[in-house]
Amino acid sequence: MPKDNGIGASPKRREDVRFLTGRGRYVDDIKLQNQCFAVFARSQVAHGIIKSIDTSEAEGMPGVLAVFTGEDFTEVGGNPAGWLIHSRDGEPMKEPKRPVLAHGKVRHVGDAYAAVIAETYEQAVEAAEAIDADIDEQDAIVDMAAALANSDNLVHDEIETNQCFDWGWIEDNRAATDEAIKNAPHVTTLELINNRLIPNAMEPRASTADYNPGTGHYTLYTTSQNPHLTRLLISAFVMGIPENKLTIIAPDVGGGFGSKIFHYGEEALVLAASKKLGRPVRWTASRWESFLTDAHGRDHRTTIELATDKEGNFLAFRTSTLANVGAYLSNFSTVTPTILHGTVIAGNYTVPLTYVNVKAVFTNTAPVDAYRGAGRPEATFSVERVIDKCARELGIDPIEIRRKNFIKKEQFPFLTAAGLEYDSGDYHALMDKLEEMADFDGFEARKAESAKRGLLRGLGINTYVEACGLAPSNLAGILGSRVGLYESATVRVNATGNISVMTGSHSHGQGHETVFPQIVADMLGMSADDIDIVHGDTSKIPFGMGTYGSRSMAVGGSAIVRATEKIIEKATKIAAHMMEAGDGDIEFNDGVFSVVGTDKTVTFPEVAFKAYIPHDYPIDKLEPGLEETAFYDPGNFTYPSGAYACEVEIDPDTGKVTICSFSAADDVGNVINPMIVEGQIQGGLGQGIGQALVENCVYDENGQLLSGSYMDYTMPRADDMPFFNVDQSCLTPCTHNPLGAKGCGEAGAIGSPPTVINAVVDALSHLGVTHVDMPASPARVWAAIQAAK
């Protein structure tokens, strides 16, 4: 086995050579001959009736080729939600149409109501400013509770309510959960906010459409995490362009964090414009457009109750959540606060009863959708915060109360109260590892030392489990998914023995181009250097579902394993023929086929060559060529888990929180490339710490985005981060995929926010502080200290 770049090795990321030397090729780098530019006219008010849009002046301006408004798209379909959620009363969710361009009404600041296509970008900007829109401003609907209370002012008049759905999980457990909480010896209640976030991918969204009038074929270069899903949405729902006439290319993409899973109206607009003009039409978002129009994340208001006995044994969790979906339903906006949230509310625990209620609310804000972790960070934050509060109320150590309620190693597979069957895990081992990493015994001494410097030190503990590796298609379908959630791979062995792997997963920072070849290299006994990954182009890859939900390795990687197994199976037959032996007598090890009990061998490249030059070949039994495709549909979600600890110091005079140390023991299942996994964990931790301490998306009561630039939206920076102490050695393999991999992309972002806030509250608990909302900014922490005085 090539230990240097097979499974378990940490070769450096091959994609970084081009990224770090400016040789990446992003959508905006693609210049097409005769291209022209699209610029959007966007609403400056959060809620308004479009009385008229006068485009005449804009149309006459220099360089202007076309102007579009919502009127031009009344015949095309709406951008749909990907999951159908039913309310507790059995009614389907409300699904107002999401048009390409706003029509009739504008519903959030930044909502595009017109677009100009011009010869140059500057001309398009000038003309977009000249569009005269008469918009009758309405009162903005921003606060979720007020939106539900007020049926006179509606985001979507046609659905007669601002509520999208009222969802219960598991509805059959509701009465028993209520009863358990009513009769419990102890109930801890916590109201909390999961703060709204703006994704801030480094590369803004961009789309360039190229319609060829000679062939009737459209090519769309776009910043997508899942080009086939985008094509499916455009073809089947929005524009009706046949899939054979539409190629989607998502080349190098500079980060997504969820926000580029979704199809956006700008993609449809440039396609329509390119068709109309017969020229390539391009659009790249300004940073302010990213702030205003990328799908935001989180934004839950939750009340959670934890019922226990006097000893701290968990009896029931009950939550009630308002989830903001913004002005329109983005593609995953309905699954994120429901299935991806409610099904993990039992956490790592044997708690017998859980019940989750989520009311999704339309508001005059940007759409809210999946963002790194998507629903599971919200669940974990609620559960782990209330556990910490409960432990304090009962006077039980926060580690002890978690250990007391952990699912034990021998209990797996374990069907939780929230309805998922966790296949594997060892939460006690993770906690043991954490205790070893974080030196809890030394905490009191460190706290005393901090106190000498006038600082308050706190220790936060947290555990998490997530359901990822999305997802078994059949189960997803039962739960409301309108798509399948398998993944595809084609392994093409070229005639001289090197390999191209076409994957439906999409890499936009994850490192697939490095890590996927390690799998094939390991299986075929060859160097990963001879294996390349092809992704992101629907004309080159099999139908794939893309990258999100920590699914690329567990699902996409498994598809590559299945396709490679087929390659080995066929190659074995060819090898048997070459060595005049029976198929059953062939062994394959380290890239060499041999006949058992003889010294006859052929190498994998020799077999490949034979497959493409099939002279003296069993042509009556076997096709030439060596290329196999597999679609892998997982048997279950995967369940990564972890135990985290964080120490903070708080300056009581200013409220500033500094993270002193952060330890993370994660079980992500089998690890293919430890370096990349560590990087993913660190990135997730950084993003979660960002949510916990600095990031906050704020709209004012008029629906204006106050945090609309980097002057006011705080991105976490390197100097906000501690040195991370991470470990992935306590692993339990996933039991149902061939790699035993669980996923690592979202873990850090799920586990870290409650860890940080638990530490902040621990530092302030002697003052009587029981909760601090995120972000625990200096001003907010100082105010909490003052309020407790």
Binding site: T654, K656, M711, T714, A779
Partner: protein, 258 residues
């Protein structure tokens, strides 16, 4: 960005003449103006760059007074070894900002969260323009407002050298401008305390603290003082009460570190 005419004079006199035309705007390092223009929120017809004027470059020190040219970058001030002022300059923005931004530009813009106004006011600096000398106490007239007339250019700034001084900046988390910044300068004839970032009126002197510190130059001298939250800035990053608190906390720290 809208189109504009660009001029780069080599003398102050040429610059003043160039700025005489309608909608002309002086351009220092451009760290505020250019982003504003890119957002199409400003559209000067003409930009007059002040970065090619030799009279506005360079710094010098007599021992009692440090003179910094209006066109000197933050990076050059940071490297100058001028105590608290150099430390302040070295903590402005990031390397890009410090290598382009100038002291003249900062003082002319008078952003309520900028650092230099606190240094100038606490130091009792003199702002020297092409036309006159303006005492710092007369120069800062409100938010983004100064005593400068149209087409008046800051040629240099004289900073009297204090016995000791210190600048404490509590950063706004997103922009890393001063959420509140306090500059304390102790001179033989008294203590001056200037506060930036806090007040809706822009940079100001905290005279109660000066009085207390003149009697007893120690952080303890501030114990009995309270800072009113009236007229303090309220935004996403701090309430008026929070800013008032920071004024006192940072003043105490500046005194302690003087």
């Amino acid at each position: 960005m809208y189109n504009f005419v660009f001029e780069k004079p080599t003398t102050v006199a040429e610059a003043v003449a160039a700025l005489a035309s309608e909608d002309a705007q002086a351009l220092g390092g451009g760290q505020t103006l250019l982003p504003t223009m890119k957002q199409r929120l400003a559209s000067p017809a003409k930009l007059v760059s002040l970065t090619g004027i030799a009279e506005m470059g360079g710094t010098s020190s007599t021992g009692d007074v440090i003179t910094i040219g209006g066109g000197v970058t933050h990076a050059d001030v940071a490297a100058g070894g001028y105590g608290a002022i150099s430390k302040l300059a070295g903590d402005i923005g990031d390397p890009t900002v410090r290598n382009r931004g100038t002291i003249g530009g900062s003082l002319a813009n008078n952003d309520p969260s900028a650092d230099y106004p606190a240094a100038a006011l606490a130091s009792g600096a003199t702002i020297k323009t092409n036309a006159r000398s303006i005492a710092a106490d007369d120069y800062f007239t409100g938010l983004f407002d100064t005593a400068l007339e149209d087409a008046e250019i800051i040629v240099s700034v004289d900073f009297p050298v204090p016995l000791s001084s210190n600048y404490q900046k509590f950063e706004q988390p997103a922009s890393r401008f001063a959420l509140v910044g306090v500059f304390v300068a102790k001179f033989a004839d008294g203590v001056r305390v200037a506060v930036t970032g806090a007040s809706e009126g822009g940079v100001y002197r905290w005279t109660e603290a000066e009085t207390a510190l003149n009697a007893n130059f120690s952080a303890d001298a501030l114990d009995g003082l309270s800072v009113s939250a009236d007229n303090m800035i309220s935004d996403l990053h701090g309430t008026p009460e929070y800013r008032a608190n920071l004024v006192k906390v940072l003043t105490g720290r500046a005194v302690a570190d003087c």
